[in-house]
């Protein structure tokens, strides 16, 4: 495609020939605080969707005292439309584990756990092999850091860091109240750093290339590259590494099938951008950074799409807090009622308002995010909700 402002990046999947864990070795020769500052300076943000500045998180973690500190790699990739972490774990597990090891070394943590969703159990044998390789090198480098795998058991909400921790502690995956934050009191009440798979892989690359080079990608606001999981009505489904900051219109031109009606960015917890807004919307600004992108063409019913999303939320809500547990059911039943003519068109406005209440009152990101897709789809595709 010519005339596109879409910029592909080749950071995370960049291939180069070095000895295993060479990046880790080189990083360990530096000063720990310097390394954390470099990550901070790079502007790298969490790649799981929440987008918290990684360097800042690591800084807090490093200042936590105590012998027992945990590094958790959040591989619970449950957001519909997301599969980049799967690809990372299959193709570049070494970069992921390196990132974890760098985290462990800079923050003086001794145990790392990869929380791997149950649906990815088939990745375990290969991962275990890579961990064995890592163990060898960790010993060589004198790094006291062990990596284990903990399997999830089928719960989208366990992608939320405190729910993930609850799950590791053998309990229901119900998100905790924050504060305290996991950095201060996480797994077993100890300082715990939770980062996404892609974040750890990105850290390895920041350490390899340096923050200046990393910053040269992306925009002033969002540095570096991001993996986008692309699926739906597109001839180029798969994982694409792109610089942040492109317009959706560029994205659609590159990846759409010529008949793109809507783009869902950020998974079902993200926003649905209608054709008319493609030109106005920039990926990474005002929307989430998880990178799950689903493309819908004009044959798709947005009512079906929304209904699918709401069924998902109503099932995966942990159920503890009122606005999410009941609100998701209300939104689902509500659009069904409007479609069936049992409730008037104006009821959709009531539902949008309700979704906004859910945003400001829900206990965790699940309930807080439902309004993103709900409001955007209802607003932009009202006709399809009615007929």
């Amino acid at each position: 495609m010519s005339n596109t402002k879409l910029k592909k990046a080749d950071i995370i999947f960049s291939s180069y020939s070095v000895a295993p864990y060479e990046i880790l070795k080189l990083t360990m020769n530096k000063d720990k605080t310097e390394v954390i500052n470099e990550i901070l300076d790079s502007g790298l943000r969490g790649r799981g969707g929440a987008g918290f500045p990684t360097g800042l998180k690591w800084k807090f973690m490093a200042s936590e005292q105590g012998e027992e500190k945990y590094i958790i790699c959040n591989a619970d990739e449950g957001e519909p439309g997301t599969f980049k972490d799967r690809k990372l774990l299959v193709e570049v597990p070494r970069k992921v584990i390196s990132g974890m090891a760098i985290a462990a070394w800079t923050t003086n943590s001794k145990l790392g756990i990869i929380y791997l969703r149950a649906e990815y159990n088939y990745l375990i044998p290969a991962l275990k092999k890579e961990i064995e390789v890592f163990d060898e090198y960790a010993e060589k480098f004198g790094l006291d850091f062990k990596v284990e795998i903990f399997s999830g058991a089928g719960a989208y909400v366990c992608g939320e860091e405190t729910a993930l921790i609850e799950s590791m502690e053998g309990k229901r995956g119900e998100p905790r109240n924050k504060p305290p934050f996991p950095i201060n009191s996480g797994y077993l009440g100890k300082p715990t750093l939770v980062n996404n798979v892609e974040t750890f892989a990105s850290v390895s690359m920041v350490c390899r290339y340096g923050s200046e080079k990393y910053k040269s990608y992306g925009t002033d606001d969002q540095h570096g590259s991001k993996l986008f999981s692309l699926s739906g009505d597109s001839p180029k489904e798969g994982v694409h590494e792109l610089e942040l900051g492109m317009k959706i219109s560029d994205f659609v031109e590159e990846f759409g099938d010529g008949d793109t009606k809507a783009v869902q960015i950020g998974g079902v917890a993200g926003f649905c951008i209608p054709r008319k807004d493609f030109d106005k919307t920039i990926i990474g600004e005002g929307n989430t950074t998880g990178g799950a992108t689903m493309i819908f063409n004009s044959t798709r019913s947005m009512y079906n799409v929304l209904h699918n999303y709401l069924e998902f939320f109503a099932e995966e809500s942990c159920g503890q807090c009122t606005p999410c547990r009941v609100g998701t059911q209300q939104l689902l039943k509500g659009i069904e009622a409007v479609k069936a003519g049992d409730k008037p068109e104006s009821y959709l406005d009531d539902l949008v308002k309700l979704s906004k209440t859910m945003k400001i009152t829900s206990k965790c990101g699940l309930g807080q995010s439902v309004t993103n897709s709900f409001a955007s789809i209802v607003k932009n595709y009202k006709e399809e909700m009615l007929y």
């Binding site: 449950g78 903990f150 502690e169």
Partner: protein, 156 residues
């Protein structure tokens, strides 16, 4: 027959004799029998010295911890929007036809259970499904009888 006590013992050795061993124990039992029975939960409660209600409350939370008997092969068809767009309903119909059961049911010979599941993370290669832990992607209705036959043969 799965020796539940042995499974519990192994997991307790690895994770300790406390609550944090619970989910690995449940997963261990599911790996053997594809579900956790009432008596298993009581046994777990006894070994970890927690209440049976606590075991149940935790087990019932997770979609991959079944508490009713399932077939040897649990088929989980992804029902995410993109898999649906790619034809998941046809795949489901093909499975229902081949297995002669409806969604949610288990075959009479207890070989197969048919369930739907949320996003498997195989969106770019859908429609997708898991058979126990094995992923099957880019499914077509024609592939279904072949896959099922493969598993029936595995039996013998």
């Amino acid at each position: 027959m799965a020796d539940v006590a042995k499974i519990i013992e192994t997991k307790v050795e690895q994770y300790g004799k406390d609550r944090k061993a619970l989910i690995p124990i449940l997963q261990g039992i599911v790996a053997e029998k594809n579900y956790v029975a009432k008596c298993d939960m009581v046994e777990i409660a006894r070994c970890l010295d927690i209440s049976a209600a606590d075991v149940y409350g935790t087990a019932s939370f997770y979609s991959f911890i079944e508490d009713t008997e399932k077939g040897k092969y649990v088929i989980r068809v992804c029902r995410s929007i993109t898999c649906e767009m790619k034809g998941k309903n046809k795949i489901l119909k093909a499975l229902e036809k081949e297995l002669r059961i409806k969604l949610g049911e288990t075959t009479h010979d207890k070989k197969f259970s048919l369930l739907e599941t949320n996003c498997l993370g195989l969106c770019d290669v859908g429609p997708a499904m898991l058979v126990n832990n094995e992923p099957y992607t880019q499914l077509t209705p024609e592939m279904i009888p072949v896959i099922i036959r493969e598993h029936r043969i595995k039996e013998n």
